[in-house]
């Protein structure tokens, strides 16, 4: 087995008296889709926050490609090649897809105009169109404000943005929760395409059949700890649910 790309060891996180994570482990291998599942309150969201720089663990360590890292801010995580798409997408609805894709990373014109902060909109539109095309996203009008797009298209813009800037790992927090059947299939297709580009995907989801359909591996959190790891090809929904609810007991079964 290759060495892990991202590894969390013994992560502890308290919120007041609530122990959200009690020594949780988590592993991402290069170029895989790994699903992170767990019941409500198992600590999924907390773990994702800590791994994407939106919080600090009280104890434990995070290793990126073998070396310990401190993800003090989301920007620090992004700088290290780790991007996160949250459920609320964090898009600017009045701006178009291209502006959102390049938000905070605008391409400026060469020369004096660029020094004055003039945007190279053509280059950004071109780049955005290519980025969307690469993920198989059909964005018919690149000049349309994101607010005018459908839910699936918005999701695609958010995912495309994170993929465009992630060099190592993309976290997708419930990417299909608000989508219809066709749109969900598209997003899952996008997830596979991201993996095919050599970027690991961490998929947080409640939808077990979906997890089994798209993920290579599954890691299960329960009560703030990792309780099981599965190879997606050799497990079933029943087994996953058993691990989530504790019916299988708390021993790790490494696939």
């Amino acid at each position: 087995m290759p060495s892990p790309q991202l590894e969390a060891r013994g992560i502890v996180k308290h919120y007041g008296h609530v122990r959200a994570l009690r020594g949780a482990d988590f592993t991402v291998f290069p170029g895989e889709v790994v699903a992170l599942i767990g019941d409500n309150g198992a600590g999924k969201s907390t773990l994702v926050k800590l791994l994407s720089g939106a919080g600090h663990p009280d104890a434990g360590e995070i290793l990126l490609e073998g070396s310990p890292v401190v993800l003090s801010t989301p920007l620090e995580a992004q700088r290290l090649g780790v991007e996160t798409v949250y459920q609320d997408l964090a898009l600017a609805p009045d701006l178009d897809g291209s502006a959102n894709l390049y938000l905070g990373r605008e391409i400026l014109r060469p020369g004096l105009l660029g020094k004055l902060g003039a945007l190279d909109k053509k280059a950004m539109r071109r780049g955005a169109r290519d980025a969307f095309a690469e993920l198989g996203v059909d964005l018919q009008n690149a000049l349309t404000a994101v607010a005018n797009l459908s839910g699936g298209q918005r999701q695609s813009v958010a995912v495309a943005r994170s993929v465009a800037w992630a060099s190592k790992i993309v976290f997708l927090d419930e990417p299909t929760a608000a989508l219809g059947v066709v749109q969900t299939a598209r997003v899952l297709d996008v997830v596979r395409r991201i993996r095919d580009r050599g970027i690991s995907v961490v998929l947080i989801s409640h939808n077990m059949p979906q997890v089994l359909e798209v993920a290579d591996r599954v890691e299960v959190l329960r009560l703030g700890r990792r309780v099981a790891r599965f190879n997606a090809a050799h497990t079933s929904v029943e087994e996953l649910v058993g691990a989530m609810t504790g019916a299988l007991g708390d021993q790790e079964s490494v696939a």
């Binding site: 090649g81 009045d94 938000l103 780049g127 000049l143 005018n148």
Partner: protein, 353 residues
């Protein structure tokens, strides 16, 4: 820096093959057509036509156009800054007071810089301009700091600085308007004309509007302004320093209010301390009529300039056709509420999709 950038640029050659992208000119036109700006411009044209038909010899004259435009210049400069502030989702009530304060500060500085300031040369006038801009900038930074860092609502912050700047202006002048504005400033800038009969005031306001529009539409500063107004949290997560940018936006507004104060000084040949108490509402009205959303995230500088002209043209037209000029306020109120109503309808239509 990242893996995506290479393919982004490398595939540039086949960009012409895709039909889903509209060529820029068409895109700009469609964008214009889809905003309130185009509509509000038509409204302005319609008002002008109506008055022209009613009184062609009095209204549709170069003299009238020049008068209306010159009168509007000071407010246009303020409204350009107000556009940026409102696009961030903020508001600035202090502009009129800051304008007065900057005018007073400039007048005092020019007076101190020259014993007989009325005969002062361009050196003194430039000094006055710098003092006006810097004092406006200072008020803007105070506003921005309190809004962005201290997190006091913009309405309250600028209500406070509205009172403070106005009060300080009165303390400095003992409530008496300062005279002794350099004659050159008043005659050359305030009343002077460029080649072709275009007043200096109008030329300056036009340049400010053009630069403001270019900054909002075509620069990173403008893009951040729109993004923060659209979704501040998204901007923050994208790595934009939202606080610093907000301070910059209020500083820009303050500086433009300072410039407006200097222009008012040139135009009226005196500080007009009590003459700007409703400039803030006039500017906000112009910006909103011009299609900028009070909820932030959307707006145009050109629209705001047009929004200044609608009340200005109404006022001048009502006088010419012999209607009591007070009707202007009634008409303006209707236009303002209609503009916001249309914005609301558009938002609802959008969120239904």
């Amino acid at each position: 820096m990242n893996t995506a950038e290479e393919p982004l640029v490398a595939d540039a050659t086949d960009s012409s093959q895709t039909t889903s992208m509209a060529p820029p000119p068409e895109g700009v036109l469609r964008r214009l057509g889809s905003t309130n700006t185009a509509w509000i411009f038509l409204v302005l044209v319609g008002i002008c036509l109506a008055f022209s038909i009613m009184k062609p010899h009095a209204f549709a004259t170069a003299f009238e156009a020049r008068t209306v435009a010159t009168n509007a210049s000071v407010l246009i400069v303020v409204s350009v800054g107000m556009t940026f502030v409102i696009i961030t989702g903020g508001i600035d009530l202090s502009v009129g007071s800051v304008l007065v304060f900057a005018g007073v500060a400039a007048a005092e500085a020019m007076h101190a810089g020259s014993d007989r300031s009325i005969h002062a040369g361009w050196g003194t006038i430039w000094l006055g301009l710098v003092v006006a801009l810097v004092s406006g900038l200072c008020w803007g930074v105070i506003n921005g700091f309190l809004v962005a860092v201290a997190r006091v609502p913009a309405l309250i912050v600028t209500l406070g600085t509205l009172g403070a700047a106005y009060g300080l202006s009165q303390i400095v002048t003992h409530g008496q308007d300062l005279r002794g504005v350099p004659a050159k400033l008043a005659s050359d800038v305030g009343l002077g004309r460029l080649v072709g009969g275009i007043p200096w005031m109008v030329a300056i306001a036009t340049v400010v509007t053009a630069v403001g529009a270019a900054v909002l539409y075509g620069t990173r500063f403008g893009r951040y302004t729109l993004a923060i107004g659209s979704n501040a949290e998204a901007a923050r997560r994208a790595g934009i320093n939202v606080r610093r940018h907000l301070i910059k936006v209020y500083a820009l507004q303050g500086t433009l209010a300072g410039l407006a104060g200097f222009l008012a000084l040139a135009y009226f040949d005196t500080t007009t301390i009590s003459g700007h108490s409703s400039d803030n509402l006039a500017a906000i009205t112009a910006v909103v009529i011009g299609g900028t959303s009070l909820f932030g995230g959307r707006g145009t500088v050109i629209g705001s300039a047009i929004g200044v002209f609608i009340p200005a043209v109404l006022a001048s037209g009502f006088v010419i056709i012999g209607v009591q000029s007070y009707w202007q306020n009634v008409a303006l109120g209707v236009v303002l509420v209609a503009a916001v109503y249309i914005d609301q309808m558009r938002r609802q239509a959008r969120s239904r999709q």
